[in-house]
Symmetry: C2
Subunit: 189 residues, 2 copies
Amino acid sequence: MSRVPVGVSARHIHLSEEHVAFLFGQGTELTSMKPLSQPGQFAANETVEVIGPKGSFAKVRILGPARKRTQLEVSRTDAFSLGINPPVRESGDIAGSAGITIKGPAGEIAIEEGVIVAARHIHFHTSDAESLGIEDKQRLSVRLSGERGLVLANVIARVSDDYALDLHIDTDEANAAGAKTGDEAEILQ
Amino acid sequence: MSRVPVGVSARHIHLSEEHVAFLFGQGTELTSMKPLSQPGQFAANETVEVIGPKGSFAKVRILGPARKRTQLEVSRTDAFSLGINPPVRESGDIAGSAGITIKGPAGEIAIEEGVIVAARHIHFHTSDAESLGIEDKQRLSVRLSGERGLVLANVIARVSDDYALDLHIDTDEANAAGAKTGDEAEILQ
């Protein structure tokens, strides 16, 4: 039985460098409010508004640094509020995903794809994965305990020298399980 | 392996007769918009506004008929939006639960308790429970399949001659599982 810390991801957005410049003004760099569990990643001081056909969220946190492509990650509950139907996808796999309008202090853009519901996953450092006999892309079962205890199937293993051990679930999954960031889960494989 | 239909409960409220009169005016009776899966229960045409310290929901559906005590059932996600911290409870077990303000066309009241996050449960007709060897209050495990498949622990069996077979989960649980009303779940026991 292997334990893994839980990290709950609220809705957030990754922006391309081009979109940072367009939304915040040429020459703007994202600034770090606090570091995240994955090395080099941070929650930025900057936020944007995201606007769907049915609703909007005024302050969506940007996670930095800037990425190749802009990607908004929402829960299914958020998606209903916005009035969009994004697919459950791994981060980076945005072809044919949902669109959204993004508004910053310097501009507003409509993206045709880039909105996903993030597939739950565990980040493993290569050495963690080796010692547990787990391979990149493997599907795992993970138990969250408590009065709303449950076992999640199809939790995707993501293995890299750049990762720190962490189970990433969204707010729907966390709330369904009564779990919060800092709890511990068990990998059942 | 026994199959059970899934019923997803969005936030809703049950009102006492006294509160129906106070919120809608003396002599008002709730009117049925559509029948629910449990015999005699209905979604009413009438809605109320519920107002918490942090947020509100303008149109919360009333489920009828009127009950002995007023009870608001919300998801954990809803609770964060409202700014309250209700316990996970079985329906009817509201002592020491959270409070809320309720507004109708004829009045507004603040209740000190009555707000819960409903504990997931399965309604069994007595004959269903007998044939499956399941007892009232028994805790069951239930599998929801699919790309977000999971197994819910601590699903409470509720057995009565007045019930029809149905698994009741809230929107957080449904969204975490990618499930919707009309899907089928498996009772694992």
